[in-house]
């Protein structure tokens, strides 16, 4: 029963590390652009500052607007606590189903979009409509790429899938490569990174995520920002879980946990490094090209599914 | 040198020589000479094959039996008469500024290379080489179709190239699939594509793979045969190219594609032991017959009119080969011969008619008989022959085909008759005013060379009245070859 505190610690770790991870991406990008950058802890400092500030509400803001940040944050944290980071088998592992995970994120997105439209400004509505359009394409693609993986494990439960990956000998599987490519593309889109959305600008014509939270301030804004940082770390962890879980431990033993922690941190920061490189070298897509980008991700995931049946099943 | 090598190499050498000859007049003569030599050698070849039954040449790479040797002779003959026809015809085109000396060189050279590709395809004993030669013949004719460099001719050539390229790619895929299954029987070398060996082992080939392969081959080579619905390139390519090219496309190239299809069908039948492949061919044939018969009525351009008639007849032959009985194959072979003769003859006539009237539009061609009796009668008689009136050979072969259909699939007879009737009315309705009617005022006198036309029509007439014993024996042998295939496999 000592695993329950471990489970909580793991979720806390993910939630607390998320702003650092976001800071890491910002710093690496700054370095790549020959700037000094704000440092790893800047997101934390921002959050602290925002929590201290007074909330300014628009006149016609309804309860949904005030309610949304809490729902978004809670849903995201719940999703984060489902995802195994260090321990494969946790008390919550029964709930660690990818479909449940996707729907938790969908719930968060739903409220985010509602909040965007609630104030009635042009930007909020525009952002919400774009977000929903993209997510309608991104979610099937995400599920499709997860299905590719679950075909081998015969389950969509994350714990089972990780155990399956850990227990089978390493071999070249084209379907996994397809699924990974699709997953990376979706992760970029879901987190509003370049080339789909640019998290650092507020450009009217193109912003998606920023447009929806434009009216927020104080602790509401802090929660929204934090939630999106957690989502980034969450996706990184999900990719690690699904494609490279090596290093995770099955049961709670101290040495193994330490090793798992080191492995996880290394892998997370490796992925984030790749993300910052990609963001530096890629140009943002024009808005109408994003659906194409997402349908490409879907196609790739589907190809993964087909090639699984074609190349791997009958061998 | 053996007659076989002479037959095959003359066009190849001729192609290279003609590429270097500047003077169009001399080039035309060399062209004719090469045609005559090829035809003479092919006759000698036919005689020697008739004596021994079948023969391998050049270490088994080539193979001749009753089926292909008669097609070789036919190809060489039509090639020769086309070369004779093209001399004065092309001089007229140069005089009217539609051609220049450089393009004449290209024309002559490509004409011979096309002939080489055709003969190589007919004689090759390797289905891979067969594919290569068909592609070679196609590539040679693409440049010929766009020879006039008018917008429409370039567009037609492009369409021809892209559609046939696509078709031929599918055919290659089918060939690869055959190799896929045969390499497990015959080993991983040329043997696995050698037709004679494949034929011996056809019952050991995997039926499922062969059937899938046949579907690809059917669509692929079917595009080249001009079967509906893949026929879109054919009327354009025939309509826009120079007339000698239309004549050889219609009279010869389509035959080669159909020949390839029939050869491969023999393999597939041997492997599957059923006549599914035949049924597929029959449906394509019937569809082409109908599409062409009804399209005939909508034409405005005289060359397009007769190219649709080619689609109709290729459909008939495909249908006949599809039935696959001895009688039907006999009819198909006879039909192939008379169609090649009559259709190329008609195209010669049409070419002269268009030159005389200065247009290919049928509304502009009127009263040929009064103005140019030779051309007018040639066109009328040719049309009557191709429409299937007795006593021409087309009637005989169609009659035989109908008889064979009655035996095998009686109910399709009605469809066949209907299609033939529609096609016949379509042709006569347009040709009647062109032949009779009031002559157009702006007609010009042209030097015509109707000799090839009369020779072709006379031959067709002769085949309608009586088939000489040696020819009938040939058809009989060839039909027996085609038919016996599935029996061996069973």
């Amino acid at each position: 029963m000592s695993s329950l505190p471990l489970q909580i610690a793991q979720a806390l770790l993910l939630v607390l590390l998320a702003p650092v991870a976001a800071g890491f991406v910002a710093s690496v990008k700054a370095r790549l652009q020959n700037r000094h950058g704000p440092g790893l802890l800047q997101p934390w400092r921002n959050l602290a500052k925002l929590f201290a500030k007074q909330v300014v509400l628009a006149e016609n803001a309804s309860w949904i607007f005030r309610f949304a940040p809490y729902v978004v944050f809670t849903a995201t944290v719940m999703a984060a606590s489902c995802v195994p980071a260090l321990l494969v088998d946790t008390p919550l592992s029964l709930t660690a189903d990818v479909i449940a995970l996707v729907s938790l994120l969908a719930l968060a997105r739903f409220f985010l979009a509602l909040a965007g439209m609630d104030i009635g400004t042009a930007f909020g509505g525009m952002g919400a409509s774009r977000e929903m359009t993209f997510s309608a394409l991104a979610e099937p693609a995400l599920l499709m790429s997860v299905f590719v993986l679950s075909l081998g494990a015969h389950s969509t439960n994350l714990t089972t899938m990780i155990q399956h990956t850990l227990n089978t000998p390493i071999m070249l599987q084209p379907s996994l490569a397809f699924a990974l490519a699709a997953m990376l593309m979706i992760a970029l889109a879901e987190n509003g990174r370049i080339p789909v959305d640019n998290p650092t600008t507020h450009l009217e014509l193109t912003m998606v995520h920023e447009a929806m939270i434009l009216e927020y301030s104080g602790r509401h804004l802090a929660l929204m920002e934090w939630a999106s940082m957690i989502k980034l770390t969450l996706f990184a962890t999900l990719i690690i879980d699904l494609f490279m879980p090596w290093g995770m431990v099955a049961g709670p033993d101290a040495a193994g946990l330490l090793l798992a922690l080191v492995a996880w941190v290394l892998k997370i920061f490796g992925l984030l490094l790749a993300l910052s490189l990609a963001e530096t070298y890629l140009a943002k897509l024009r808005l109408f090209e994003v659906p194409e980008f997402l349908s490409m991700a879907f196609v790739i995931a589907f190809l993964g599914l087909l090639s699984h049946y074609m190349l791997e099943v009958n061998a | 040198m053996s007659p076989f090598l002479v037959t095959l190499m003359t066009p190849l050498i001729g192609g290279f020589v003609l590429a270097a000859v500047e003077d169009a007049r001399i080039a035309a003569r060399i062209n004719v000479a090469s045609g005559v030599i090829t035809f003479g050698a092919s006759l000698a070849l036919a005689v020697s094959v008739a004596q021994v039954g079948s023969l391998n040449a050049v270490g088994g790479w080539f193979f001749l039996d009753a089926f292909n040797v008669f097609l070789v002779a036919l190809t060489a003959f039509v090639g020769m008469t086309t070369a004779i026809f093209s001399g004065p015809y092309m001089r007229h085109e140069i005089a009217h500024g539609r051609m220049d000396a450089r393009r004449m060189r290209l024309y002559h050279s490509m004409f011979q290379l096309f002939q080489f590709g055709m003969l190589l395809g007919f004689t090759a004993n390797n289905i891979g080489v067969l594919w290569v030669s068909l592609e070679l013949a196609t590539l040679a004719t693409v440049l010929l179709v766009s020879l006039y460099r008018t917008p429409a001719s370039i567009a037609a050539a492009w369409k021809y190239f892209v559609l046939c390229g696509m078709g031929i790619a599918l055919a290659l895929f089918g060939t690869v699939m055959i190799f896929f299954t045969s390499s497990s029987v015959l080993g991983h070398g040329n043997e696995a594509l050698t037709w004679t060996l494949l034929m011996d082992e056809s019952s050991k080939l995997d039926p499922v793979v062969m059937m899938i392969a046949f579907c690809f081959l059917m669509v692929g080579y079917g595009t080249k045969v001009g079967l509906a619905p893949m026929h879109a390139w054919l009327p354009d390519a025939h309509g826009e190219g120079p007339t000698p090219v239309s004549a050889v496309l219609s009279g010869l190239l389509l035959n080669l594609a159909l020949y390839a299809l029939v050869r491969l069908k023999m393999l597939v039948d041997g492997a599957t032991g059923t006549d599914t492949a035949g049924h597929i061919m029959m449906s394509f044939g019937l569809l082409s017959l109908f599409v062409a018969a009804f399209s005939l009525h909508k034409q405005r351009d005289i060359k397009r009119l007769f190219s649709f008639s080619s689609i109709e007849h290729m459909g008939l032959m495909t249908f006949a080969f599809g039935i696959g009985t001895h009688l039907a194959s006999f009819a198909a072979l006879l039909h192939m011969t008379v169609h090649s003769l009559v259709k190329s003859g008609i195209f010669f006539t049409v070419g002269h008619a268009a030159q005389a009237m200065g247009t290919q539009k049928m509304t502009g061609i009127r009263g040929l008989i009064r103005h140019h009796p030779g051309i007018g009668w040639g066109l009328l008689v040719g049309t009557v022959a191709i429409a299937g009136f007795p006593p021409f050979g087309v009637f005989t072969s169609e009659f035989l085909l109908l008889t064979a259909t009655l035996d095998a699939h009686a109910w399709t007879c009605i469809l066949l008759l209907l299609g033939l009737l529609v096609a016949m009315t379509g042709l006569l309705r347009f040709v009647q005013p062109m032949a009779f009617g009031e002559p157009a005022s702006d007609a010009v006198a042209v030097r015509v060379n109707m000799l090839p036309v009369y020779v072709h029509l006379l031959l067709a007439l002769m085949l309608g009245l009586f088939i000489p014993g040696f020819l009938a024996g040939w058809y009989d042998q060839a039909a027996a070859l085609i038919v016996s295939a599935p029996l061996e496999g069973l």
């Binding site: 196609v299 | 567009a155 390499s183």
Partner: protein, 225 residues
């Protein structure tokens, strides 16, 4: 290397081949189309080298080298020159919009997997799995020829079909006999040259490389009285 690993590598290359075929379909700009076409050529060469190594058919090294020269370098370079010379790097608008094309392409892939399935069961070859992918690639190349308006993209589609055929020959039958292969390579080269010739003819005659313009001229020709 053991055969299992070779098999996996070839399967992986087959999957990549499929992916490249999709990428070719998804491109907007002429230069990226060309770029992916070259990638396909290289992939083919690598595949045939691996098959040669795995099966011990040494003549496949020859076709690998031929492929690399012809399809990986020469043809892309020729097309690149045509594009430079004729200034056609503008965006290519497909006839059917991209998402729909992708869906059709997926359907085609499913279809080809379906028809090839009976074959896969009976073959004992090292590379039997790639037959379905080769079929899909052939049909995808045709889709590209159908859905594009520019003459050059149609040609790239045609050459992609040829590539897929070559892949079928290499990947699923361990290579056709050398004579046939040389014949095919020769034909492709001639075809490419004729295509190049055509580009200039079309360009001078129609002042554009849009296939629509050509088609219009045929219709006009047919309708003029």
């Amino acid at each position: 290397m053991n055969t299992a690993l070779i098999q996996q590598i070839i399967d992986g290359l087959a999957a990549l081949m499929l992916l490249v075929s999709f990428s070719l379909l998804a491109q907007h700009r002429m230069l990226s189309v060309l770029h992916w076409f070259a990638v396909q050529g290289w992939l083919l060469a690598i595949t045939s080298a691996f098959v040669a190594y795995g099966t011990g058919h040494h003549e496949l090294y020859v076709s690998a080298a031929m492929t690399l020269l012809l399809k990986g370098l020469l043809l892309p370079w020729l097309l690149w020159r045509v594009i430079k010379r004729l200034h056609v790097h503008r965006e290519v608008e497909p006839l059917v919009n991209l998402t729909l094309t992708m869906l059709i392409a997926l359907g085609i892939t499913l279809f080809s997997f379906h028809i090839i399935q009976p074959i896969e069961k009976i073959s004992q070859l090292l590379t039997r799995d790639s037959m379905a992918i080769a079929t899909a690639c052939v049909l995808l190349g045709m889709l590209m020829m159908i859905t594009r308006r520019k003459a050059i993209t149609q040609v790239v589609g045609f050459l992609a079909v040829e590539n897929a055929l070559f892949f079928a020959a290499i990947g699923s039958t361990n290579g056709m006999p050398l004579v046939v292969e040389i014949g095919i390579a020769f034909d492709v080269l001639i075809a490419a040259l004729i295509f190049g010739l055509f580009f200039f003819q079309i360009r001078t005659t129609f002042d554009s490389l849009e296939v629509d313009a050509m088609h219009a001229s045929l219709v006009e020709r047919e309708e003029e009285e």
